[in-house]
């Protein structure tokens, strides 16, 4: 069989001048460059991981994890594991409980265990600490011994609450954070109407943030336009007026608004002096929802102006002039030519202001009064009360809400259209 004339010898490997295969040399050189690049980014990466990723991961873990009861009541935990939910406690269960209580008394951890159960069933904590105080006197028959300390030990609600706390991983905090509780048989149900607060506040937080974002946009748009079109000297002056409050401490700005708007404040005094309102009917602009909206709008305004300005600055005025010369009215020119070109700035400003507003805490705390509170104020409240798991669950829900908004924005506008300046 004749040799195929088209088959040639395999080509000699391409080599560098010193005889190494070119491919290997290239990979080596690129690898070195990559490693060097990584080393340059490494400090930032480590910083982000330690100060951002890890704390958030820890927060998320805390919202589903609380071992206050489970770590301190191993015997009862074993009994719960061996029985199906809803099993009424028998003598073995009470004996296990007695064993745990003796240990809790020795370790001084009854308060810890009671606190965990108390999150889902009020008045459990004192039941635990009172029982622990008498733990050394517990003797068989244990059921009677426990009932002698408190009749509550016979209550199915207590045993259900303990069963649900017996696993360190729990959805209890998310239930509470959505205004639910567990019935005696463990099924979730909504809490009584006068206890419902979190869902309402979540909705309110997002609605108020939306209102504030809209107000910021309405106020910032003309200012940014002016900044972008004024002659340099006057634009600089205006820019200073925008930046000066931006650089001033948040607390100072909030307190100044209190001085301005409170019942005996500057604005009301002026209105009374000019006879617009009489002394008995001073306007209530502080310590309520209106106060929160006004002050937060002012504080977040620069975050809207600056991205808008950076976008408007580079819009060539010739486009608008061309539209006008082709016969468009000024409104049509604005709507069809100018506004679409500012969209990246509007998007960036809106998402910046909205996300900041959703997590805002100090301003509503100071000027919000009764109805100007946001969900972040309750997160702070629970941090202060040492109920960190509930605070973490609420924070996680807030984070999820912001991510959903971000995702929606990406789908509707496209995140690559964002322009921060």
């Amino acid at each position: 069989m004749p040799a195929d004339p088209f088959v040639t010898a395999p080509p000699a490997l391409l080599t560098t001048s010193d005889g190494r295969p070119l491919k290997a040399a290239l990979a080596q050189a690129q690898g070195r460059a990559r490693r060097r690049a990584f080393l340059l980014v490494a400090p930032l990466l480590a910083f982000v991981i330690f100060t951002f990723v890890l704390p958030i991961a820890q927060m998320l873990q805390r919202s589903v994890y609380h071992d206050g009861f489970s770590a301190n009541a191993p015997a009862v935990r074993a009994w719960f594991a061996a029985t199906v939910p809803g099993t009424p406690p028998d003598e073995t269960a009470f004996a296990a409980l007695a064993q745990d209580f003796r240990q809790m008394k020795a370790d001084k951890t009854a308060g810890l265990a009671g606190t965990r159960v108390n999150y889902t069933l009020p008045e459990s904590r004192s039941l635990f600490t009172a029982t622990a105080r008498k733990a050394d006197d517990l003797a068989p028959p244990y059921r009677d011994a426990f009932l002698a300390i408190s009749a509550k030990w016979a209550s199915p609600a207590v045993w259900q609450a303990m069963r649900s706390a017996a696993s360190p991983y729990t959805s209890d905090f998310y239930l509470i954070a959505t205004d639910f509780e567990r019935a005696d048989d463990g099924t979730p149900r909504r809490v009584q109407e006068n206890q419902r607060i979190y869902v309402y506040l979540f909705v309110k937080t997002f609605v108020l943030s939306g209102v504030i974002t809209l107000l910021c946009l309405l106020l910032a748009f003309p200012v940014a336009h002016l900044l972008a079109t004024l002659p340099m000297a006057r634009a600089n002056l205006l820019m200073i007026l925008v930046l000066l409050p931006f650089w001033t401490s948040l607390l100072v700005r909030t307190s100044s608004w209190i001085v301005m708007l409170q019942g005996q404040g500057v604005v009301n005094d002026l209105l009374v002096a000019t006879g617009v309102v009489d002394d008995q009917n001073r306007l209530e602009m502080m310590y309520n929802q209106l106060g929160t909206i006004i002050v937060m709008t002012h504080i977040l305004l620069p975050f809207m102006i600056l991205p808008l300005y950076s976008v408007m600055k580079v819009i060539p005025p010739s486009y608008a002039r061309a539209a006008r010369s082709l016969g468009a009215t000024s409104w049509t020119t604005f709507r069809r030519i100018y506004l679409p070109q500012t969209l990246p700035g509007i998007g960036a400003g809106a998402i910046l202001v909205f996300i900041l507003a959703v997590g805002y805490y100090i301003t509503p705390a100071l000027v919000g009064g009764a109805d100007g509170q946001l969900i972040s104020n309750l997160i702070d409240f629970h941090m202060d009360k040492s109920n960190w798991s509930l605070a973490a669950a609420l924070s996680a829900m807030l984070l999820a809400g912001v991510l959903v908004i971000y995702w929606l924005y990406d789908r509707l506008v496209g995140i690559d259209n964002l322009k921060f300046g």
Partner: protein, 359 residues
Amino acid sequence: MKRLLILSTALTGLAVSAQASDLTVMSWGGAYGAAQTEAHVKPFAAKTGIATVMVDSDNPATPIKAAVEAGNVTTDVASVEYADAVRLCDEGLLEPIDINALPPGADGTPASEDFLPGAVTECGVSTDIWAQVYAYDTTKFPEGAAPTTVADFFDLKKFPGKRGMRKGAKTMLEMALMADGVPPAEVYATLSTPEGVDRAFAKLDTIKDQVVWWEAGAQPPQLLADGEVVMTSAYNGRIFNAAVGEGKPFKIVWDGQIYENEMYVIPKGAPNKDKALEFIKFATSTEGLQAQAQQISYGPARKSANATEIIYKDGKTVMGPNLPTAPENMANALESSFEFWVDKDAELNERFNAWLASN
């Protein structure tokens, strides 16, 4: 850049050397922290030569819990509320303090008999007794037509005008019930029933649209001074400081006061445990408690410290009648119940927050 580096290094060095003291005390800052610095920290350092520093916190119980749980305790002594002292103790986060280790009173009475009932717990020793009271602006009400009882606080007809109230269920519910005619001895029994809670909220409802809510203890004197409210619930020491210290026309109504001990505690694993105990012995001795009461109008929790007259730091005001513990102020007074609030805090605050947010 180099200069910046040197500067920041120097600053870090400063911060480290500031922490390298022999004893760290954590308190609430403001007028209260200043009082404890003057009365306890400085004299203790002068007497023993132990470098003692005071650090501030909004509520020392929160950082202490975090520090002990993280196993990185830098505070040796902390000033915490009574409920927190018992709660943290129950959770094993504090060092126990033996009452017999505390010095006897100036008159020789052993500490166990000298301290008022409940003033020393397993892990804490009382520094003072403070009270939640209400105060009014005397320029707003003529002499003879001024509010005198806790019920007057809720009487908008006789005493029109805005009210300041603490934003929280604790003390506000008790105040509402007492104003509604519940005797102090029955307040917590009433609040333990759903009907009692409803009754308290119904009473709060009657003034809800006239209330300005405050959170920080410094706010109520400010609200009164600004004329934002005509009367406000407040911590008695803050009103005293504004009225006597700054000459503001404020007057306290003691009827229906709710009082509570403030405690010094030692966090578990404190780096200088022995010195911390020495500090507490010094600060809660008869002289130590009196020294603090000269700075701020919170009552000493030792009988021996109340036996002699205490004069305010201005040199003329007698503290006695301005303390929550004065007999004439105790006529209709309620001791805040720790047990009740640890149990019901979450439940009642949820209801309170829901009530507050609804219109």
